[in-house]
């Protein structure tokens, strides 16, 4: 059942919205005075959505955040307002590989960012052709860097080295950042302890069943409340809910503080993912803070086919266990040992059970099994990947 993705402003809600006929539902991101406050999925009949009928439901689902925005708007005050804050300049880095069409859409959206003196950097990671280089050539303000060694974490490390500004924001090539995305990230770098800020990522389209399954099982959006993660208020080994690599920013000094991304992790290596979450863990372990900022909104095109989605979820399973393996072996984080048990008993097993009983809202069994398969392979894949890295 294809779902239309809509971005609506609650203060200016059109009474009726028409979408293409084939949509049965609408996934709505609700904003209040421009700020994201909630999401809701509503039914669509004959390509028509009467918002009046659902206005109350919409408002109730976003009530807590709407109230906060309403109050702060009245007071013209925000918790993060500092008397002496000068926003640092940023570099936006896109690590890409053979996805020119997606990249073009991403670059177009970056051209809509207000000019705060940001630099835009494309790291072309071991491409098989010249398409990306040619595309980037048509954007005079975008800098092209070729990184011949394949691997997402290798490309990220290259971006840190190439970036000329104090803040480095990463977006994926298949993401479309909102116009206020970068500003929302940057305003959180207001104390030296904030080493990383992650943003909220919403689905760009929900055209296929696979995309819906992905959004339901593994959403990149982590809620509409700003959160602060520190080493003593949060288990630093549990970084899944902090954010994701498609929407994150760091201080450049993160390199001195915690070192490079581990090149044995993430896409382009046997571990397939986990580089971002492992890095978050290291940042917290070293006593720095990570802020999750929902106003830093970006849209991500999820994988369209079921095969790709299953592979991605399996990859996440591998990634999580791979990065846990790394933290255990290299950082001697013994607390890791109890994590697999907790995840399995509290999350994976109940999900499997609900899926087998075909309970409403349960996730497809093959997706859950793919993740567990990935988990089992994770540690071995990490050792393999680490060995390959050392060989190079």
């Amino acid at each position: 059942m294809p779902t239309a993705v809509l971005d609506l402003e609650l203060t200016n809600l059109p009474p009726v919205i028409t979408v293409k006929d084939h949509y049965t539902h609408a996934f709505i991101l609700m904003r209040y005075k421009g700020k994201p406050v909630g999401k809701i999925t509503l039914p669509v009949t004959n390509g028509c959505l009467k918002t009046e009928e659902y206005a109350e439901q919409m408002l109730t689902s976003a009530e807590a955040i709407v109230k906060k925005v309403f109050l702060h708007d009245y007071l013209q005050w925000s918790k993060t307002d500092l008397v002496d804050f000068v926003p640092p300049k940023a570099t936006v880095a896109i690590c890409t590989r053979n996805r020119t069409e997606d990249l073009k859409r991403c670059l177009e959206s970056l051209m809509q960012l207000p000019d705060d003196g940001q630099e835009i950097l494309v790291i072309d990671n071991a491409p098989s052709n010249d398409d990306t280089k040619i595309l980037v050539g048509s954007y005079p303000t975008v800098r092209y860097v070729l990184e011949p060694r394949a691997g997402l974490d290798i490309a990220r490390n290259r971006a840190i080295m190439e970036a000329r500004n104090e803040i480095l924001a990463f977006t994926d090539d298949d993401a479309v950042p909102d116009a206020m995305w970068l500003r929302a990230l940057i305003k959180n770098f207001n104390t030296p302890l904030v080493m990383c800020v992650t943003g909220m990522t919403m689905p760009l389209e929900l055209e296929t069943e696979a995309q819906e399954i992905f959004e339901r099982y593994s959403p990149f959006g982590k809620g509409f409340k700003r959160k602060k993660y520190t080493h003593n208020s949060h288990n630093p080994l549990q970084t899944g809910q902090i954010g994701a690599g498609a929407n994150m920013a760091f201080r450049k000094s993160v390199l001195q503080a915690v070192g490079y991304f581990d090149e044995a992790l993430d896409a382009g290596t046997p571990t397939e993912s986990g580089g971002d979450h492992e890095y978050f863990a290291r940042i917290l372990i070293k006593g720095y803070q990570i802020i999750y900022e929902p106003e830093a909104l970006s849209w991500h095109r999820h994988r369209r086919t079921m095969k790709e989605t299953r592979k991605a979820i399996r990859g996440y399973g591998i990634g999580v266990y791979a990065f846990w393996t790394r933290l255990l072996v290299k950082e001697k984080e013994w607390g890791i040992l109890k994590m697999p048990y907790a995840w399995f008993i509290h999350m994976q097993l109940p999900n499997l059970w609900r899926s087998m009983l075909k309970r409403p809202g349960s996730h497809p069994l093959h997706i859950l099994l793919a993740e567990i398969e990935g988990c089992v392979l994770g540690p071995w894949k990490y050792f393999k990947s680490d060995k390959e890295k050392n060989k190079v």
Partner: protein, 412 residues
């Protein structure tokens, strides 16, 4: 150089740290502020190393004085330094500060009126592999500095951080300097009196220097907690109004603590509980080694609480006295307190608060009471700039309700 030309006096108490005092003196010679208008006074307090020899031989590019004292804490040498100083503005620095070259200039430019007291920024230096305690220590410092930068922050006595602050000589003399009977927290006590005198606290990020504190560690911090407990009782006796504000993180659950077995044994056989708590310090080390953060945090908090209460009991003696000390009373709002009706607009309300500078307020919207901001011990009087933050933090729920009702009324 004549004394008339001296505008600023940098006062540094020091105790057996000849290495860091030399680094500090050298860095003060590289200041962007004109050195001819600056004097530096080092007061060596109860030093047994070669500090005094170094001071004697030091050739400074600025006006330089040194002296010696034998006090129990840094208050005596600080007061001595101030007595020798001839500048209009005093900058107090600790001997473990590694100042930026613009520190003095930034302090001076932040002094907009004679009542200004300017706190400088002191980022803590970190070793390569900091332990849990050190990470918490940095987080504590950074939180303190961050709060002072938030728009609408209401300063309190605890914001006077004596490691890097500046004050006009007249205000310092009016306050009669630091209290010398305290072994710690003498800066907080001065902060209390300065706010009572009407001082305007400020924070300057540009007046920064590294804080090269290499001696504070977990064990020292635990021992110091006992000292802080003792001092807090003295502070309370001097300024009864701040009782509510003293180390809330430990006293908020004071009655629970009084009911606990720890308190029972602590009051009866303190020697035994001391032994146990020292034994548990070893457990902290083990928890750190196996990186059990959560348990470490919990135990560390418990031990700090223990030593804090140990200090309180040292001074108070009996359980009854401790109970009366913990007797928290809710902040009071006098019936004739200032009333602010937000109907007049936030800017107009801010102007009234700037004009009146009261201790507590009652907030209304269109004659409906929204709530009260009660008296807060040890805090600066309320001014206009505090209003929005106080409303957001303390009265958000009733204010949202009232504003929504007003909107509905308008629509109808």
């Amino acid at each position: 150089m004549t004394n008339e030309s001296i505008h600023v006096s940098v006062i540094i108490p020091t105790h057996n740290r000849s290495g860091s005092i030399l680094r500090l003196l050298n860095k003060l010679g590289e200041q962007t502020f004109p050195l001819s208008q600056m004097e530096v006074i080092v007061v060596a307090n109860s030093c047994s190393d070669n500090t005094f020899e170094i001071l004697k031989q030091y050739k400074a590019p600025y006006h330089f004085q040194y002296a010696e004292t034998n006090g129990a804490g840094p208050a005596v040498p600080r007061n001595k330094g101030a007595a020798l100083a001839s500048g209009n503005i005093f900058i107090f620095l600790d001997d473990d500060v590694d100042p930026s070259t613009s520190l003095v200039e930034a302090h001076i430019s932040a002094h907009s009126n004679p009542m200004s007291v300017v706190m400088g920024y002191l980022p803590l230096t970190m070793p390569d592999n900091p332990d849990f305690f050190r990470l918490n220590l940095r987080a504590w410092w950074e939180k303190k500095f961050y709060q002072m930068r938030v728009r609408g922050y209401r300063f309190s006595y605890e914001d006077l951080l004596s490691g890097n602050f500046s004050i006009s000589s007249t205000l310092f003399r009016q306050a009669q300097g630091f209290i010398t009977t305290f072994t710690c927290r003498d800066d907080y006590e001065l902060g209390m009196r300065l706010l009572q005198l009407g001082a305007e606290f400020k924070f300057s990020k540009d007046a920064w220097g590294y804080h090269c504190d290499e001696v504070t560690n977990l064990i020292r911090s635990l021992r110091r907690k006992r000292e802080e407990g003792r001092t807090d009782v003295k502070l309370w006796r001097l300024h009864p109004g701040i009782q509510n504000e003293l180390q809330k993180e430990y006293t908020a659950k004071g009655y629970d603590f009084l009911q606990s077995k720890t308190a029972f044994f602590l009051i009866k056989w303190p020697m035994i509980t001391d032994r146990i708590s020292k034994f548990l310090e070893n457990e902290l080390l083990i928890l750190e080694r196996i990186k059990m953060r959560y348990r470490w945090e919990k135990l560390s908090y418990k031990l700090h609480t223990y030593w804090y209460y140990r200090g309180l009991l040292d001074e108070l003696g009996t359980k009854e006295n401790l109970r009366s000390y913990l007797n928290h009373y809710p902040g009071k709002v006098k019936s004739d307190t200032l009333e602010i009706d937000l109907q007049m607009g936030l800017c107009a309300a801010e102007r009234i608060l700037d004009d009146k500078r009261t201790e507590s307020i009652r907030v209304k919207l269109n004659s409906q009471v929204i709530g009260e901001i009660p008296f807060k011990g040890g805090a600066e009087p309320i001014k206009g700039a505090h209003l929005r933050r106080m409303l957001a933090k303390e009265l958000s729920k009733p204010l949202i309700k009232a504003l929504s009702l007003e909107k509905l009324k308008e629509q109808n």
